[in-house]
């Protein structure tokens, strides 16, 4: 049956970015996010935007998919803008009674907003270029070391894998159940909040019944095949680092260094840039 719903954000492709090891991608994305919070002035943001732009270009994912995530948090972006604009102290630009917009506020608002936008696009990039299954594999691997502090990484990964496998099934079930109840007159789209909540019952009950029936069958099937849990299990596709992962890692380190040391670098480059600028001005 044709399904109307595809889960996840994955955009199929064969780019370099698509082929990177998921563990590396998760770490790189984390580094990018941390770096965003380490940026001290607008030059840093230029570096970040440039870096992000390069990766987007290499991934060959159309820009409009990147921007979808922004639609979702549109409200927060507005909030960020507004709050920073009005709540930052400094030299006033306009005064509206008790509240004022300051130059610093405007500057702040713009950059906090930009930071948020870059953060979302960076995260989107991860989900757009990595299949959900690969993401879970990556997470399982990364959580592995935490076994020492009692985190049952393998069991969690197993649950993740099973859940992923059954999400499409349950989505279909939920869809079917919703449609069947709609055909019987249940209304989910209009009416008071209370009414809509009550109409969740005809969906939740059958959904749970289905889900747990599937779980029982699954458990039986797994036990029948002697599944015993985590120790010593192997995978069909083991994650392996390749040369391009090393290259990506190095580039990320370079990026991070640039961001952290940005102000020092700028200070060192200033004289050269200044003379370049004046030469250009003289030539024109």
């Amino acid at each position: 049956m044709i399904r109307d719903i595809t889960i996840g954000q994955y955009y199929p492709g064969e780019s370099w970015v698509h082929k990177l090891d998921p563990r590396l991608k998760i770490i790189v994305t984390l580094v990018f996010i941390v770096a965003l919070f380490l940026v001290k002035d607008f030059v840093g943001y230029i570096v970040a935007v440039a870096a992000l732009g390069i990766v987007i270009g290499v991934s060959k994912v159309p820009l409009r998919f990147m921007l979808r995530g922004l639609k979702a948090i549109f409200i927060i972006i507005i909030f960020t803008f507004v709050l920073n604009m009005f709540m930052t102290g400094g030299t006033e630009m306009i005064r509206l009674g008790p509240i004022a917009i300051t130059y610093e506020g405007l500057y702040r608002a713009f950059f906090m907003g930009l930071r948020l936008v870059l953060l979302i696009i960076g995260s989107s990039l991860l989900t757009l270029t990595t299949k959900p299954v690969k993401l879970t594999d990556g997470m399982e691997s990364l959580l592995g070391p935490f076994k020492a502090i009692g985190l049952p990484a393998h069991e969690l990964a197993m649950m993740m894998t099973i859940a992923l496998r059954f999400i499409p099934t349950l989505l279909e079930e939920t869809d079917k159940i919703m449609k069947a109840q709609m055909a019987r007159g249940a209304d989910f789209e209009s009416g008071s909040v209370f009414r809509r909540a009550k109409n969740m019952i005809p969906i939740l009950v059958p959904l749970f019944v289905s889900a747990f029936r599937i779980a029982q069958d699954l458990a039986m099937a797994m036990e029948a095949r002697c599944y015993r849990g985590g120790e010593g299990r192997t995978k069909l596709h083991e994650l392996k680092f390749k040369k391009r992962d090393l290259a990506a890692a190095l580039l990320t380190c370079l990026f991070l260094a640039l961001i952290i040391q940005e102000q020092n670098i700028m200070a060192a480059l200033m004289p050269t840039l200044a003379s370049l600028a004046s030469n250009l001005a003289g030539a024109l």
């Binding site: 948090i73 993740m160 029982q216």
Partner: protein, 176 residues
Amino acid sequence: MEYNKDYHTISGSRLKFSKKPSKVRFAAHAAMIAAVYVAVTYLIAPLGFGPVQARVAEALTVLPYFTPAAVPGLFVGCLISNMISPYGLVDLICGSLATLIAAICSYGLRRWKWLVPLPPIIVNALIIGPMLAYLTGEHGMFWWFVLSVGIGQVGSCYGLGCLVIITLEKYDWIFE
């Protein structure tokens, strides 16, 4: 469908099946709860993200009242939800941890039915609130975020959550 919990001992043979509660069944239950959480998040569209968090899936945070499998189940469900959403990594870490802690607390409170929806409200307010405040820049509105997240949660966790408890109670054989 009946699930036979008691295995037979075949007398005279060397084969003896154990009677211990099945780890596999626990894992399967947890995985299904995770899958239901993600399905609900995606199909019954969330009413928004951000300062007013009111997602229908939050009503499922009362599930620990019915089964301990809901604790890892909700955690994994939240992990996956965040993995495949565009909000991404930050919410993945904070949001999922918040869900886990809340689920553990809810399970601990399971003897007092009407207290079960409380942990998600408090934990989310105290973790997601600061996260949002930090993300949007330092502007001193910290407590405002905490408060608004908390209020948003009350509707879904308490309101819908209690509805879920009342409804599923009649069908508690599902969780056997």
